[in-house]
Symmetry: C2
Subunit: 340 residues, 2 copies
């Protein structure tokens, strides 16, 4: 069965290709009666326009790419939902690209997206080489960043979160409870994790707390990583009295390790996360953490992207929206029993 094309519709209806095309694209200047007639034939013949032929000229795919670190992390799944829900409403479809924090995969995805000529890209918290960003810009593809900044491109649209301030909040809280030996669970380098680490370090310094590299873990990605790392930490009797995790996903893995080792939170060790994912409120010990509005972050960035796509001429101010953190105090921290 050969494919039905607009030519068939044209022949059947007695109108020209162009008129059929007009009806298809809901353009003006078509007499109502001819419109109806053509619509009926389209329906009868079950015709559907060919995606590729259509885009060969007009180049609008109504799909956008969302690039993120790890969909298994609830922070990202909630953020994705924020993006997808909004785009769905606007009749766009989204291509979700899961990089596993691997910059090579990330690059491959960006190239794939570009070659599929998607209408825009949302890049969530990943630090890719300047060259890659350059490519996106030079192709004139609308781009919105979430929670990353690029020094070389200060004008990029960005929905930001004050991660620095968040970690200051977390560290100050722990220090106010008398903790000085605080272990920091670091995230992968491709994340802009440096500003978080800096918030932590600066706060320790401010309080004249001496620290060294042993206060920082290797880069961790998953729940399981958090688990393994903290288990080792406990086994080595390091003497830390508190832990800050770069995100709740890892914090929850850490919490599991503490319990599996026969210890308790916060009795033996205090723990603070980052994100406030759902599961932190119903974890073994409700987790004290810094809340980040993941769903809204996603939604905001989607709104912004669509606005850029649909009004290419409107000069949207490259205003960075920065969302403020809030410390959610639950039960995973307590005063240090043995202050120095």
């Amino acid at each position: 069965m050969p494919k039905i094309t607009i030519k068939d519709i044209a022949v059947e209806s007695g109108f020209s290709l162009k008129t059929v095309s007009r009806v298809l694209n809901d353009e003006k200047y078509v007499k109502n009666s001819t419109k109806e007639k053509i619509l009926k034939i389209i329906d009868d013949l079950n015709f559907e326009p060919d995606y590729f032929a259509k885009n060969l000229k007009s180049k609008k795919t109504r799909t956008i790419g969302l690039i993120l670190g790890d969909i298994e992390n609830p922070y990202y799944s909630s953020l994705s939902k924020g993006v997808i829900d909004y785009l769905e409403m606007r009749d766009y479809t989204t291509m979700l690209c899961n990089t596993n924090y691997n910059s090579e995969i990330c690059n491959r995805y960006i190239n794939a997206l570009i070659s599929k000529e998607i209408d825009g890209i949302i890049l969530s918290s990943l630090k890719v080489p300047d060259k890659t960003i350059d490519k996106i810009i030079s192709k004139n593809i609308p781009l919105v960043l979430i929670e990353v900044e690029y020094e070389s491109f200060p004008d990029l649209d960005c929905i930001n979160f004050d991660s620095y301030g968040a970690e200051v909040l977390a560290a100050e809280y722990l220090i106010s409870l008398g903790h000085e030996r605080i272990f920091y669970l670091v995230g992968p380098k491709i994340l802009d994790v440096d500003v978080r680490v800096k918030g932590f370090r600066d706060t320790l310094k401010k309080h004249r707390i001496i620290f060294d590299n042993s206060y920082f873990s290797e880069p961790l990605i998953s729940f399981e990583d958090g688990y393994a790392c903290v288990k080792k930490m406990i086994e080595s009797k390091s003497g830390f009295t508190a832990i800050i995790a770069v995100n709740d996903f890892i914090a929850l893995g850490a919490m599991k390790a503490v319990y599996d080792m026969g210890l308790e939170i916060p009795r033996d060790i205090s723990l603070i996360g980052f994100d406030d994912i759902k599961y932190s409120s119903i974890s073994r010990v409700p987790l004290t953490t810094v809340s980040e509005p993941d769903y809204e972050l996603g939604r905001l960035s989607a709104e912004r992207l669509i606005r850029k796509i649909e009004n290419p001429k409107e000069r949207i101010l490259p205003r960075k929206i920065t969302i403020k953190p809030a410390l959610i105090i639950r039960d995973s921290c307590k005063p240090n029993r043995f202050p120095n």
Copy 2:
């Protein structure tokens, strides 16, 4: 700057369009020296083939669609990861379609996918109208189902999980602990939730336990739904001694409600989930549940789909793979204090 096309490459190299095309597609029968020469020019001119023109004839997009209920549910995010990881390895990209369990959205996605001429579809646990399946089949689009069956299409490829057996396991366990008044937290209708409910009902019947519609909740979707439903249940002093939730996501919301109402698990109420998501092992009370290998389910279905796509002639047996459930006993259930 006008777009660079293969014509430019042809002119520059002195070869024909076809030869350039051959190099691009890595076809045989190109002299090595000409290949190198053309490759160099492609590189120099920074040429990239146009996605739409390319597919206008050959119709291979190397992208597949994954349709699921709710990416926020960890079961689905883990499953997605299984799919995406495998496809990424095989150099396919995946389009994730989040339906929020809405069959209209689901239908719209399927149409969008078809019109984008994706290479295949994975449909995860959603029951859509026969007409929709018909459309996919008639377009000859490779399809793999996860955890749904369609009576009208017994020959569809399907990676299945024995949900019926799983709920029998759960119900038997609770009954063996002396529970008879067991509340069942039902999922959305678009899921093939009937077989789970049936496993539960049949087991009650087998033990001659009398039950009625009050044993079943309204269809629930999210963590928050589970929370609200169980809160109401407790407030109404219904007298249930145990709860089975259609998935862990909802079970965890239920758990939160129990604690927020000042009760405890399993002291006041026993709870069983379904899926064994990560967070169930580190929840307020470690959750007893039925494990389902979400990541593997995703991976298996992706493997199967690619096999169908790349060997369209090979008659893959429409063998349903059925994965067996296992009860994971943790701490959320205890013997009923007041057996009838």
